[in-house]
Symmetry: C2
Subunit: 217 residues, 2 copies
Amino acid sequence: MREVFQQELQEVQERLVEIAALVATSMENATRAFNESNVSLAENVIADDDKIDVLAQELDELAINILARQQPVARDLRIVVSALRISASLERMGDMAEHIAQLARYRFPDKVVPKSLRGTFSELGALDVAIAKKLVELLRTEDVSLAEEIRNDDDRIDALHLSVFDKVLGETWKGAAVDTVDATLASRYHERFADHAVSIAKKVQYLATGDWIPVAL
Amino acid sequence: MREVFQQELQEVQERLVEIAALVATSMENATRAFNESNVSLAENVIADDDKIDVLAQELDELAINILARQQPVARDLRIVVSALRISASLERMGDMAEHIAQLARYRFPDKVVPKSLRGTFSELGALDVAIAKKLVELLRTEDVSLAEEIRNDDDRIDALHLSVFDKVLGETWKGAAVDTVDATLASRYHERFADHAVSIAKKVQYLATGDWIPVAL
């Protein structure tokens, strides 16, 4: 029984890694679609989000199934419950990548943000992609130093997110209302993507080290 | 054992109702703070969000504890897992109310949105409050007709959310960039609040009727 359970936990972990890898690819494509105004890449991201949703849902069913059959307690129980939460966060990260791709598609053939903000968004996108790739590795290896890196990347993203508002609300901003709306939404999507990654990283860190970090915070 | 379990499930349900009621009060206060530029009410909402977070976290601990001790299966297991998900959604609804209150505080003593949008946001706020109150009743009574009403209210919110963009991107919009940013964010927060409510309503409906609605969608 115990051996079966360990195999099932490994299956859960592998599926989380698989979903995280898809999310990383989606964010990479969304970032390119956004920066380069690539509408077919944007459409790929939008289509891929359905796959992420289905995989997350299948993982949830597996986790609930494991709870029912294996009746885990203590740390084992927390691993399975955490998997459910991680899956929900990955699903939302996929949604954020999709929203970014949708902005690229709406504005095609124009670029989403004016020149003065492209450097900022290029950095935001690159950081989100880096975070997503680190998340894949963190889920695969449970190397908690990656959790720390993800938190640091997120701090930088928060600073960039604020700098978008500074620019949009500053005296030199010449953007039309559509540019202001798009910059506001795009910045929020990038920031939320990273927030979900940090939340996942905390859970993995807790599971790897036993340090309890409250789930709701 | 079975009787204890039923008592514990009732405790879970009562706590969900309690948190939902706090969320409804927060959204009511956030809406008033937003519409009337009431900074002290905004500060109440911001303080109350910490309470919601703590209660959601305590509920999660209770649910995990029930899983460990009672080892529920089948429908009972799904009730407890759903409680974890509903708690996470309520916690996010509290965050949205807090974000709306923060906008009111930032712009005080000015109002957050210009006159031309106040009617729309007043309706958005009233609908979110109505949804939150229906959610309290739905969680308390499991009267699934309320789930249908919540979905209808959400459709109206989605239409209003789109109308905000129509107005902001229309030719008659004279708002400054700060108005555009605030209207974009405020509209998104109102819309997400309702989305979470719909997601909770679907779960309650599933539990009440046995119709499985995939969790990730």
